[in-house]
Symmetry: C2
Subunit: 239 residues, 2 copies
C-alpha cells in the first residue's frame, strides 16, 4: 500500500469517463505503447477508448499541458518526441526540487518509514514492475513532504516524462544500482544527516541522468528512430 506520507492523489472519483480516458491515454503514452512522434486522431482515440469526442478532447487538452503531446490546430495531434536536450531539461528540473525536498522536509517523515524503505530496498525482488513502483513511491514521498502544491504539481509532470525514458531505455540493470542509492538516501535521513541525504539524492539523480543519456547516445542498432534530434514539441510534418 505504499509508505506513509505518500501522495493522496490516488483519488478514486475516477468514475467519470473523461478521467478514465485521460488516465488510459496517459498510460499508453508514458509506457510508449504509443510511440513518440505518433500522430493521433480524435476519431481513432474515440474508438479505442470507447468514448465520444468530448471526454477525449478533454484528455488531450490536459495531456498537452503536461507536455506529453502537441495539438496543431486543424492539422493534427502528435505525441511529443524525446531528445537528448529533453532528458537534460528533465533532470535539471528534478535536481532543482528533489535534493531540496530531502534536505529540508525529510524530517517530516517518520523514522519507521525510513526503516521500512531500507528493508524493502534490501529485499531481492526480481520483478522490475515492483521495483519501479518502489522507486516512484520513494521519490514521491519526499516531494509530498514539502506539502507544497506547486512543487507537487510540477513534479508530477516531470515524473511522468521521466517514466517515458525509463520504458524506452529499459534500464533493467540500472534498477539495482538505483535501489542501493535509494538505501543510502534513506539511511542518511534516518541518521538525521540531511545535507548528506540531499547530496545522496543529488548524485542518485545525476546517475540516473547519465544512465539515460548514455543509453540514448549509444542506442543505434535496434534503435527505432524514436529519439529525435529535434526538440520535444512535435512538429507537424512540414509541407
Amino acid at each position: 500500500m505504499g509508505y506513509r506520507n505518500v501522495s493522496k492523489e490516488e483519488k478514486k472519483p475516477s468514475q467519470s469517463l473523461k478521467q478514465i480516458v485521460y488516465e488510459d491515454l496517459k498510460r499508453r503514452i508514458i509506457s510508449c505503447e504509443i510511440l513518440p512522434g505518433t500522430q493521433l486522431t480524435e476519431e481513432i482515440l474515440c474508438e479505442q477508448l470507447k468514448a465520444s469526442r468530448t471526454p477525449v478532447r478533454d484528455a488531450l487538452s490536459r495531456l498537452e499541458q503536461e507536455q506529453l503531446l502537441t495539438i496543431h490546430p486543424k492539422k493534427g495531434i502528435f505525441v511529443n518526441t524525446v531528445s537528448l536536450a529533453n532528458v537534460s531539461e528533465l533532470f535539471e528540473a528534478r535536481l532543482r526540487i528533489e535534493p531540496y525536498a530531502v534536505q529540508y522536509y525529510g524530517n517530516r517523515i517518520g523514522d519507521d518509514v525510513y526503516v521500512e524503505c531500507i528493508r524493502r530496498f534490501e529485499s531481492e525482488t526480481r520483478k522490475s514492475r515492483e521495483l519501479y513502483r518502489l522507486d516512484d513511491e520513494f521519490h514521491q514521498m519526499f516531494i509530498d513532504a514539502t506539502r507544497n502544491r506547486y512543487l507537487i504539481m510540477f513534479y508530477n509532470t516531470v515524473r511522468d516524462q521521466t517514466m517515458r525514458y525509463r520504458v524506452l531505455s529499459a534500464m533493467e540493470r540500472r534498477l539495482f544500482d538505483s535501489q542501493a542509492e535509494h538505501r543510502e538516501v534513506a539511511m542518511q535521513c534516518l541518521r538525521g544527516n540531511w545535507e548528506r541525504a540531499a547530496e545522496a539524492m543529488r548524485s542518485h539523480i545525476e546517475n540516473s541522468k547519465i544512465s539515460i543519456l548514455d543509453y540514448v547516445m549509444h542506442q543505434n542498432r535496434d534503435a527505432k528512430n524514436i529519439f529525435a534530434a529535434t526538440d520535444i514539441p512535435a512538429e507537424a510534418p512540414e509541407t
Copy 2:
C-alpha cells in the same frame, strides 16, 4: 517591446475562440475582476464570453490545471481562494528557481540588456501598470534564459498566481523598493558576480513575500473576506 531573450510565448495564433476565451477568463481571475471563492457556471460564462460551452469548458479545464479554479463534478466551478499558506508555497517555489536561473544562466543575457534594464529601473515612471510590466519581464527574462521548457512552464503557473496577490494587496508602495532591488540584481549580473546576483534575487523575492504576507495578515478593515483561512482548492459549499 520588452527585453531581448524575452519569452516567445506571445504566440498570436490566438484566433481560435477557445484561446480567446481562455485568455480572457484567465485575465479576469488573475486581475481579481472575478474574486477568489466565486462560483462560476458554464452557462453564465458562455453569455459573458460570448461562446458556446465547448470552448468555455476547454478553458476551464486548463485553468483548473493551473490551479486557478477547481471543478467539482456535477456541483460547480469555484475560483480558488487565496491564503497565507498559499503565499508561502508560491514564494518557496519561486525561490527554488529564480536565484538559480540568475546564478547559472544570467550570463546568457547580453550586457546591453542589463544596461537597458538598469536604465529603465532608474527612470521615474509613475504608471504602476508600466512598472508591473517591467517587473514581470525582468523576472521572466532569467527564467527564459534557462531554456528549460519545464522550468518555464512551471514558472508561468507560479507567476500567474503571484499576480493575483499583487492585485489584491495593491502594493503600490512596494513597487519602488522592488525596482531598486531589480537594479541591484541587474548590476551584479553586469559585473559578472553571479553568486551575488542570485543572492540579490533571493532577497528580492523574500522581500516581496514578506510584503504580501504582511499585507494579508494585517488586512482587516477594508478586507473583503477574500483571504480564506482554508487552503486553495476551493471547497464546494458543505451541505
